[in-house]
Each structure stands twice: as structure tokens, then as C-alpha cells.
């Protein structure tokens, strides 16, 4: 009988371990899913110079809000998906539906200017974030990324990755209309 108990021993140890694993799986335990902390928060304070050699002004926190809804687009000349979404911004700018400001992220000034020369410039202002510090302030996880900022300067929406035409129609334009 004692021998039988000995054979039960591994099972008992395992049961205790499994119980602790179960406790460890409590979904509330690990806040690993970080939602974008900036949503419904005022845009971060920053000040970016113009692209060196460009003829457009730079871009800082003061340019946001002011009673206008704004799209803030983070782009770079080395980023292929940016090239893919760029025509959408050109159309938006041509139709004057919304003010678009750009953050040129970790880019060489000459390359950024050549890129805008080639594809067109939909941005009212562009801030050059050569070090990527402001990108950290905005909490971006990659390029491109686009934010919708409302009349009061509060971030209302964050889009990670290039904007697809369908997403523009069904997601972003409705938000813009609501805010305007």
C-alpha cells in the first residue's frame, strides 16, 4: 500500500504545479496588451525644425488644435509602404478635405526633399525628426503611421501601417466627418 502511494507521488507534485500554472494564467495578471496610451490624450509637446534645405516651415505642438481637425502622417523616404499610401494624401490635399501635417522620420534631408519632389507634397507643414525622438513621444511602432487630431489638439485615432483606400473610406473619413 505504501508502495502504491509512492507511485502516486509524481502525480501529486504535478497537480500542485498545474494549479500554480493555472493561477499564473489569470488574464488580469499580465498587462501585456498596451492599448495606444495617446488616444483621447492631448498631442505630446514637441518642436521640430523644417527639413534642411526645404522651403516649408517646421512643425510643433502649437500647430495642432486651433479649431482645425488635422491628420498627422509619419513618413520617410526609405519606407516603401509610405510610397504606397502617398497618393491618398495627395488626393485628400487636392480636395482640401483635411489639413495634413507631416513628420519626416529618421531621414536624410536631401532624400526626403527628392522624394517629395517626385511624388508631390500634400503636407502643409513638415517637421524633420532626424533622431527619431519625437517619434518616441508619439509612441509610433513603425512607419508609416497616421494620427487624427481634433479641433482641441486631442489625438482621436491612430493608424498603424499604410492606409488602404478601403480603410480611408470606411474608417478614417467617417471619423474626420464626425470631428468636423
Amino acid at each position: 500500500m505504501l508502495l502504491r502511494l509512492l507511485f502516486l507521488f509524481p502525480l501529486l507534485i504535478f497537480a500542485v504545479g498545474a494549479y500554480f500554472f493555472y493561477l499564473g494564467l489569470d488574464p488580469a495578471r499580465d498587462p501585456s496588451t498596451i492599448p495606444s496610451v495617446l488616444i483621447d490624450q492631448p498631442a505630446p509637446a514637441f518642436e521640430l525644425p523644417a527639413i534642411t534645405g526645404g522651403d516649408q516651415p517646421g512643425f510643433s505642438t502649437g500647430d495642432l488644435g486651433n479649431g482645425e481637425v488635422t491628420l498627422v502622417n509619419v513618413f520617410a523616404s526609405w519606407c516603401l509602404p509610405c510610397r504606397a499610401e502617398h497618393p491618398l494624401f495627395m488626393d485628400l490635399a487636392a480636395e482640401e478635405r483635411v489639413r495634413i501635417l507631416g513628420i519626416n522620420y529618421k531621414d536624410e534631408p536631401e532624400e526626403a526633399l527628392a522624394w517629395l519632389e517626385e511624388l508631390g507634397n500634400p503636407y502643409e507643414r513638415i517637421g524633420a525628426d532626424e533622431e527619431g525622438r519625437v517619434g518616441i513621444e508619439w509612441g509610433i511602432s513603425g512607419v508609416p503611421e497616421t494620427f487624427v487630431v481634433d479641433r482641441e489638439g486631442t489625438i482621436r485615432y491612430r493608424h498603424v501601417g499604410p492606409i488602404h483606400p478601403v480603410e480611408l473610406e470606411e474608417l478614417i473619413l467617417p471619423i474626420l466627418e464626425r470631428l468636423q
Partner: protein, 661 residues
Amino acid sequence: MIPELGHFTLVLALLVALVQGSLPMLGAARGRADWMAVARPAAFLQCAATVLAFAALTWAYVVSDFTVLNVVQNSHSAKPMLYKVTGVWGNHEGSLLLWVLILTIFGAAVAGFGRNLPPSLKARVLGVQAWVAIGFFTFMLFTSNPFERIWPAPLDGNDLNPLLQDPGLAFHPPLLYLGYVGFSIAFSFAIAALLEGRVDPAWARWVRPWTLAAWTFLTGGIALGSWWAYYELGWGGWWFWDPVENVSFMPWLLGTALLHSAIVVEKRDALKVWTILLAILTFSLSLLGTFVVRSGLLTSVHAFAVDPTRGLYILLLLVIAAGGSLALFAWRAPSLKAGGLFAPVSREGGLVLNNLLLATATATVLLGTFYPLFVEAFTGGRLSVGPPYFNATFLPIMLPLVAVMAVGPMMAWKRADLAGVLGRLKFVALAAVLAAAATWYIQEGGPVLAALAMGLAVWLFLGTLWELGERVRLFRVPAGDSWRRARGLPRAAWGMSLAHAGLAVAMAGMIGSSAWKQEEVRVVRPGDEVALGGYSFRFDGAQRIQGPNYLSDTAPLTLLRDGRELGTLYPERRFYPVQEMHTTQAAIRTNGLYDLYAVIGDPQPGGAWTLRLYLEPLVPWIWFGAAFMALGGLVSLSDRRLRVGAPRKAAKAAAQPAPAE
């Protein structure tokens, strides 16, 4: 279309596995040969279906099909082709598919090679294999379907974690999984034996090669993983006692114990119950590894995305597989007949000691890995257990193990003469003491443990060679006779010597790199020279280079010794824009005895860079040693006894007393 085909074949594989898991098991219980015979074609079909599913996912990656969610999340059109293919298993869903692919390939291999297994044993083994597969197929289909579509399809993917964009990804996970999954065969045999109520040497003869193969793969996988961490993470370390490393190390430790206890079952028909328990526990630890990496249970640098639903499902699988088999063990194992008796001082006794030490070491690692979880459950506090714990508990167990490793192989079966064996090793002991003293002298004091451990490494290395020398009667008979004897030795004997000597070499590497590492961290400007270990490194400024999907800052370092140029090192710091991540590419220059290791850190204002330089003594030996161990496993696998078709003869031989080696 092709992803749907993959999804469909995955469902098909699950259905086949359900048949394979039920009909042959029932057939074995009722003695229906026709039902049992279903297992073989089912195993083949299940494997074929899984191969197709895997091929479908690989296809989706190769052509960058961004309608498949998994591809979007883990790939990018600009990613080099090598990483598109290896990216298939660089994520949770895809790696599960690889896991189950290997599982079904092993299942098919048992079905193919196992023609001369007793039909009921074979039916049960394949049945248990099928149940393991069912667990993983349902897990994938219900919680982690790799073929899920996304619409609208994004224009490009999110790219693979840059740390994984390395050739290491091509070999490390597959080898690791071959090891983990290989232990499933030992597990299936153990469960089948419990169901049959019988364990005999023929059973061990079957379990041993599979365990050996799994052990060899796992050795290779762990060694490669540690090498990868060494050159990719840029910290100059090769083992961090990280939970994910630990969970791969535990099955290895226990698998090593299983490998040795299976010898005792095969040769002496003893330790049967213990071996069964080890087989169950080793595979349970492999499952635990899969569980920890994917559940977010413990924090680690290389865990997959956290998802509590998945964690719960794997926990359920673990409870069924490990809990169920341990319950079966508690119920059936007491009725297994005990085998041959042996004196405490004997080869068997040595192997039991080996098993006890390895099992204790495993328990130590297990406790250290999960201690934070226990503490959190009781007190709610978070803490982490680091290298100091493991150095304080694990090493004192491993050092005695190494000490007895040299002695064990020289002991006779049943009853041995310990004093006699130690007498035969007296010159080896002398050399070991001299090595320890020399180490002590060279390092001018320094850590005592390093001197002691170096002595033990020499003891193991020379002891292993001495044992081999005695076997071939080196210097006692003419060299030609020794050569003939050496050629006549069983491959398994060569394998053991290679593996044991390999461990000694790896140990020396571990000691050298932990005890005598030199480090230099400096901020440098172009033209600056940094001296380390008799070398001088000249920084000539960093250059920006455009890679396929990254930007690189490369800093050529001119290596000088006594004013003479020896060459250039190219440490890199890469920026992967899509993932917003920096990685370091260490520049390593080795001469086989030590590594010079250079990493550049963050740029400083004014064209300056932080530069970290390491001199790592003996570090290459860790991987030479591990390669020898894996080679030993392969050589041993090629032993005639274990070769395909050999069991036919082996089954007959099993009736006669097995000759002692």
C-alpha cells in the same frame, strides 16, 4: 486558394489522427489484428496531410500573400528570401505547425521502421502518438489557425522581429523541436508499455535509439541557440538562465538521464519503472517548454506573443498528457515486474547515481524557473531568479556528476571494484590535480571554483581517453593490435567517449569564458585606439549602409598587435524601420583559443560612438564540445545494433543474456 488547401489538409490530418488514436487502441485491447493494422497507413496519411499543410503555409510566405493574417504579422515584401522561408516558424502559429509536422514525421517513421514490433505494442505506440497530435491539431485549429485570412489585405506586412532575421532561425527551432518531439516517441512507448503491462529489453532497444536521436537533436539545438544568443544579442554571454533557455535545458537534462537509464533496462533488465517515469517526465517537460514560451506565464526575452486563451488550452493539454500519463503510471506501474539485481557499487549503481544527480539538477532548474510564479501566488510580489541562484545550486550538483562520469564507464556490471577502478585512474587524477594547481597559479588566485572545475574537466577528458585506451590495450599490445581492437569496438562505445570528452571540452569553455572574460567599454571618436588583452582596436568612424530591409551603421575597427595590422572587424548596429527596432551585429574574430568580440552601441554627439570590446577565453570550446557531444550521439546511433532492420536480430538476441560491453 492554397491557404484554404492548407487549412483543409490540417483538418484532414486531425480526422485521420482521431481514427489512428481510437481504432488501433481498441484493436490492441480486443486483439483485433485488422483494427490494429489501421495505425500504419493512418500514420502515413496523417504525415502526408501535415506536410501539405506546411507546404501551403510556406508558399504563402514565399509569395508574400498578405491576405493571410499570419504572413502579414510576420513577414514583409522586402525581407530576404531566407527569412521569408524561416519566418514560417518564427511565430507562434507557424512554429506549432512545424512542431506537429515533426511529430507526424516521427509517427510515420515508427510506422515505417517498426515492421517487427509486436503488433499490439506498435498499435498502441502509434495510438498514443496520434493523441498527442490530436492535442496539437485542435490547439491550432481552435486557437491558432495559421491560415486565417484578413480583408482588406494590407499593402505590406509587419516584418519579422529583426532578432530572428538571422541564419540561426533556419536551424535552431527545427533542431530544438526535433529534440522535443523526439522524446514523444519515448513517451508513447512508455504509455504503450504501461497499457501492455510489460517492459522487456526489446522495449528498451526500441526506446534507446529514439531517445538518443532526440537527445542529439536537442544538444545541437540548444548549443546553436546559445551560439546565436552569443553573437546576436551583443552581450558577449552565451547562457542567461532565462526561463525560455531553462525550459529547453530541462528536457535535455532529464533526457540525458533517460538515455542512461534505458541502457540499464536494455543490458540488465532493471530500473524499468524509473525509466518509464523518466520517459513520461522528459516529454512532459518538453510540453512544459512549449507551454511556457506561449502562455506569457513567465517573462522572457524570447517568448511568443501572450494570449491567455492559448495558455489555458495548452495547460489543458499538459494536464491531460502529463497528468493522465502520471495517473496511468500510478495505477499500472506497481504491477510491472522488477528485473535484475545489482550491488550499489557497479555500472548500474553508477548510472543510478548519474540519474539521481541529473534528476536533482532538473528539479533545481525547475524550481528556479518557476519560483517567481509560486512567490507571486502566495505574496503577490514579483521577483526574478537570476544566475546567482543557478550558480549556487546547479553547479554543486553538476561537479560531482562530472567527477563520477570518468569513473562510471570503467565499472563492471552487477558488482564493481571501486578501489581498483580508482587505482587505474591514478595518473588521470594526478593530471587533474596538476591542472587545477596550474589554473590556480596562472589566474593568480582568482575564483577557486574555476580552478576546481578546470581540474574536473581535465579529469573527465583524460579519464574518458584512459578508458578508451584501456579498451584497446594501448601501449600494452603492439600498436597494430590496438588499432584492430579500436576498429572492433562497438560504435556505441565510441559515441560515449566522444560525448563524454565533448562535455569536458565544453566545460573548459564555460569556465574560461565565465571566469577570465575581459571587458572594455569606451566612447570613441574616429582615430581613437582602445587596448584590450595585448591587442589594440582603432576606430575609423562609422558608415551608414543600406541593407535590404534595414539601415546599418558599420564601424570598421582595425585590429593591431604590436603596431602590426592584423585585419578589420566590422561590428554593425542595424535599424529595422518596419519594426522600429535596433539590433547589434557583433564582430567576432576567433583563433580557436579565444574570441575577440566587438559591438558598437549608441551614437554620441559629435561623431562619437560607444564601443564595447570583450576578450572571451576558451569560449569557442563550448560549441566545439557540444558538436563533439552531438557527434557522439550520431556515431552511437549508427551502431549496428540500432540500425534499421537490426531489431529482427535483436529480438532473438534479447532472449539470450546481453553481453556486457
